[in-house]
Point group: C2
Amino acid sequence: MRIGELAQASATTIETIRFYEREGLLASPARTEGNYRIYTAAHADRLGLIRQCRNLDMTLDEVRVLLRFKDQPQADCGQVNDLLDQHIGHVAQRIRELRALEGELRTLRRQCTAPHAVADCGILQGIEDAAGQGGNGVGHQGLTARTRTLSR
Amino acid sequence: MRIGELAQASATTIETIRFYEREGLLASPARTEGNYRIYTAAHADRLGLIRQCRNLDMTLDEVRVLLRFKDQPQADCGQVNDLLDQHIGHVAQRIRELRALEGELRTLRRQCTAPHAVADCGILQGIEDAAGQGGNGVGHQGLTARTRTLSR
DNA sequence: TCAAACCCTGTAGTGAGTGTAGAGTCAAGC
DNA sequence: GCTTGACTCTACACTCACTACAGGGTTTGA
């Protein structure tokens, strides 16, 4: 199949597939005379595995490691377990951080209920006070990654 | 004070301070004859505010908006509240996503307890099965940002 | 023969910085 | 005056996992 078909079948974009090839995650497929990529079912399987790992929020480096294990079926799977344990640890850590952050934000938010001038706003005051104290909040221990919802 | 001193005082790096200046978040300071930046207490306050907002996991765009409000003390603070409410919404959303993800990962992890060959590993099997089904997990609805813990 | 749909390569952009090269400045000690 | 070391300067490339172009070539159906 051609790249467009594979993209549709895997709910990926064409650009992402080409990106995975550049990154060495997906083997370079054969080409037609007109230089179009032609993929096999093996490519589709591999891409599916990569996407599923990404859905599990693994980095591409983690995916690379997993794929390497998969290509050595005789190896001991203990390291696969370690990889997953570490990953679970990251996720749990991030949840703890975000929960603490949410608490801080809600506390801050409570400092302004009725609308008034910015100069008297409890929220800005609260942020400034925390800044002045050198910030003893959550983030100072090191927040991890962005919070943003892309709402795809 | 010079940039190194400000960096120490604000627990920031020199590069980050210069980056904020380039981005227009921090006003360009005066220079010495030798072209060194010289900061005032006002700069330090501003930087403290920016860092505190970043500790609250706001984007630089959100910080920009907040700073603009701060520079118009007469304005109504309702929009500051809106900004914070939206931000709290993002954080709460991200927590929900990560909790679902954590559940999925723990389910997957349970599929391999005793060490054996990769070929028979329940974890890899589990990921592949999910991939084959088109992945009905969390991530498919759209995970938001990375999980990574940088452990600074 | 023509248009539409598809595909190609190469490059630049995202956010929020981090890291480096290669140069200049400044203060202290000799 | 000279040297050493700490500090600072600009400019640029790199991170991650894509995404979005520009400017071309290929294929397919009418």
